[in-house]
Symmetry: D3
């Protein structure tokens, strides 16, 4: 879904720059004779790369920041001079953000809170009517002034800067997102249907890692700890569950499994 | 301003395809593995060309229709295979519109009503949640179901298709539009300031054609006719005005001129 | 050789669309005002990627299908919106093939029969004069109606669809193919010349895996099984062969080795 | 139709380079590690420009020659370094043709014989298995060794060079060509249907110039001269014809008009 | 020669940014992770367009300024978002120049002094080690601090800014320039050789306009005035010259003609 | 720094082709109507790839040679037909170098002398005024005639070919290079500052491998051997150093560490 989120971030950012949405009334791509907007994209992963594709496509000037030089080299290979890639450090972030009309926060660290790369003071330096979109907002956000919003009230203004921080951005393009999600998960569903849960988790380690609860037992160590429950390894839970399931089948109970891709 | 309107048409069209704005929840550019949206652009002039640039930029599939084969040849030269150019006739319009997720009406005939290229029945064939944006709506529109809307209530739904028909689309990006308009008109303003009205209209025929009223006299034949006033040629009005102006200078009155670019 | 096969597939496909070769008389790239052809490419590996490069180059609309989302992401990176990448499943294949003017079968699974992705019924739905090229035909083909043909009689028509199924497609561009093959194999030849067979297979495991027969002994397990011969591991054969070779040198016999890259 | 002819020229040229068609077995676009083919295109008009688009698309190295420097400047603008544009003179033609794997003759002078730019001696210098395609062959051809061929026997070999000289190349892609021709002529047909012949030729000078014969009278001076007939200006023929037509309507004769676009 | 001058301007500008040539030690295209240089190009004619092609090619960020909006529209068509086109006015020039690492002066008005677009004060605002290249320097230059230099001492430093102002820039690439000049003038030379001077100037008005002196008579009004000589119209001079030439042939004198293309 | 070196190689190469620098007076990108320069790049690693980006950008024809077919495939993916990739062998090197106006030596083998790919005899075959730039010259160079030069006297001519062989090419663009180097090394510096040397080398094996001398002891085996010193493993040196350092802190001595990234 990161591809969807990255592309959506630019689409909603461009819309927020319109006067009706609180922005400075700037067309991101400009027109002949009138300057284009400047976009700063924090993070060159899937989110940032797709945001960059869209921003270039709309005709904006793009600064893309990442700490991984190999990744920046790859991005330079595929964009061939159409984006400026910058090593992400305090000085570069300050320059890129303070000059930007649109800032995209696209730094996500799997399973961890996003690092706060843009402090509130830097947001305050942006020009009136600029826009910030934080894709990482449901993991705490990488921009200091961002708090989650909803599709009903997607934006708020702080320091004169429009903030778009909808936690579930891909939900706006539900058709595209549903297909994207299905494409990514169908192989797990197929395996579950073919082999049953115990067979599937045995053959597919990725799937096994996604099982948090089985037969009422918490099979994910971190989840167990955060909920104050006893952790039961999946193998053991499956073994117990098989017994319970046999029993349950008589009693009509259903084994419940929650798999998170 | 046609460049602004053309680019805005795709930007608002992409936004209207989002679920919150009534659209089918489609990301125009798709993502790897999921289909892209199809855009049909009616007219390959400045509006249509800029719409095409944006639609390509967003990653959509683009069909662009025009009756001028030389223009289509030029568009093929600059886009080098990234859009499909089609000769605009009933059959091609039907196919392109009925398959499109987004239709842009960009046919403008200077000083005349836009021709109705897309009848209501064809709009009714579009799939649920598709979007229509008519840039020509303030000249009557080239799409049968389009009536002007405002930035406050920009869209309505008809036959399940979202219609965005704001008459003054460039107003949404007022900063960009103001610069674009100024760039186009500054030379007239400079000439007026340097040479005064009579000097300027004498040296610049384009400017002279834009003077509708001078010293209370209607100097534009069509305007005079439609208002039921007497038409006075500009030269004559200027001559009379010079007398009045000399008199006025003593009496403090100011000659008023309304120039329309 | 997959690069050659992928590029050739589009070249011969474009030719088959000409009226003289049985096709519908369609120019793949169209001309300004006239629609372009639609190409569906099954498989995004080396064959499919090179086919896509050529199809884009000729100006066609391209749908490229693969089940590997990471690969589709890479293809989207390098083609930057010039192809539609689709997740390969029954629904997408049906839509892409039935709408296509040209279908390229480019799914190859090393050492296995190609999966039958396109059933005969789907081919029957294609429009009259469409074209199918199956690059995988010498491994059984991934299209249900494909059977191998030769350069002398390269095509046949089934369900009104022209089938080009030459098993050795790269043979048509023998100069290019010879260089391509030599480039890929020269390092093995050099090593054999420098170190002799036993030295070379000892230092180069890739080469060792390619030795099917040595000194009359079958050193490839699968080959031995399919021929009903006794399998002798290469190391053992080499050891025996060294003895035989010493003897043979007196008797004039030559050790024969068949290496398949 | 020149767009069709230009694109077809590369498509058939690439096919002729295949071994089965007599060529040197070269894939025009090469593959990674193996050289690409070199194409020399004579003439940078519509034929040459479309040939260049295709040749670039296939991945070839392209030299495009023309005497019009403004046109070369435009081609450099749209191709941005992807073709080499050369001023067409004897030295440049010799170098470009002698190094080429494929030569496209695309020099057409409306209403005149194409100039012989490539003498037989230069063709003889091309390497064995190279290919020549002369789009101008039905106007005498701009290549010394070219004589018209047909779709049934499209090629012949001279000096080891494969010659493809089908006079009606667009006929091979009849669907595309029919649409292209219709797009270009439909406005004349519409006008004839709406206004009748006399009305149409009165309002449309381009159409009037295309009328060779009217009511049995030869209305085109050059045609009259070459056929040894009396030339009657169209206006006079129409006037006479109106009389004849009135008479004919009684007698059942039909006025015949042959219009050549 | 403007194409050569425009391309050379960027090439020498990039070199001047190197430390050895006095520049700030900046690589115009940057590298992944390090910012690219900013180039401001004044004028979007042939010089500016070719400079822009090179600057984009080197990977720089490019601002291109011109007062002609139609020209900017065309440049936007061919560069498709890879340059920022700006309407050339005082505010835009100030912003673009003061932020630039490299400024190219490419404004030439045929037969007139170039307008001084960049005052000395603005040059003084550029950062230390920036570079200015004025292609218009032999017409007075469009940058206030520029005075002509030679290939021997091509640069000087003023206000910390390196100035490259060689009047004959194309001379550095003499091979390319000679061919470019020959391509542009050969048709005149051919006509002179075929028809003699009097025949050639009669048939070719462009050539006639270039004749300044004929048979010792000054045939160009402005030249005559500036030299204090009597102006003799070319036709008259030719007539007289024919007589003189007849006489001269006996006496061995040679008619001298100086033609300036 | 290889990105800087690769890009600089083309920039200085283009400058050397100017007449003032001894070259043949060729503009690498040509102009409409005049041929472009041919560049041969040896090696498709980071140096060669960045050189290719620049050479394409300047508008040159580019042949890029490497022995790694997978790498050539990747380069073909990102350049999409804008360079010719060739398998690097004696025949291809001979053809590419002898036809080139500019040869870039970009073959570097980490920790080893560059292989001599271009013998002196081949350089002698290049045309007068051609240019050679050897990026690998500080590792012995991959071109037979190259010996290191300095920024003060960067070039010399041999066999009529201009040689640019500055050992520290990135030094010319010191600003860009300093940032590039800092970006690549800052993480090591940070770790050293945070954890001290012993902590840093313990946690970061890459850093540990870079320590050549610690506390006066040679901790790099190859360095010790080449200097005739005793080799002391880093762990042991650190242990000893800790003792010395404790002692030194009293005596004021400072432990010295030389780290090479």
């Amino acid at each position: 879904m990161s591809e969807v989120a990255g592309k959506m971030a630019i689409q909603v950012g461009a819309a927020c720059l319109e006067r009706e949405h609180g922005g400075k009334g700037l067309l991101l791509g400009g027109v002949p004779g009138v300057r284009r907007g400047r976009v700063a994209i924090l993070g060159g992963g899937v989110v940032g790369t797709n945001a960059a594709k869209m921003a270039i496509g709309l005709g904006a000037e793009v600064n893309l920041l990442d700490i991984n030089l190999d990744r920046l080299g790859y991005l330079d290979d595929i964009f061939l001079g159409r984006v400026t890639t910058l090593h992400s450090d305090v000085a570069q972030i300050e320059r890129a953000v303070s000059e930007a009309d649109l800032v995209i926060g696209g730094v996500l660290i799997p399973g961890a809170r996003a690092p706060k790369l843009v402090p509130e003071a830097l947001i305050a330096e942006m020009s009136e009517g600029s826009v910030v979109v934080d894709v990482a907002v449901d993991q705490g956000g990488c921009i200091g002034t961002c708090v989650p919003t909803t599709h009903d009230h997607p934006t708020y203004v702080k320091h004169g800067v429009v903030h778009y921080c909808v936690a579930n951005m891909p939900g706006a393009v539900s058709q595209t997102s549903t297909f994207a999600l299905t494409n990514a998960t169908i192989k797990y569903a197929t395996q579950l249907a073919d082999q049953g849960l115990s067979g599937a988790v045995e053959h597919n380690r990725a799937l096994a890692l996604g099982v948090n609860v089985y037969g009422g037992l918490v099979t994910h160590e971190a989840v167990a700890r955060s909920l104050g429950k006893t952790y039961v390894p999946l193998a053991e839970a499956l073994a117990r569950g098989d017994g319970k399931a046999s029993a349950a089948r008589k009693g009509g109970a259903k084994a419940k499994a929650h798999a998170g891709a």
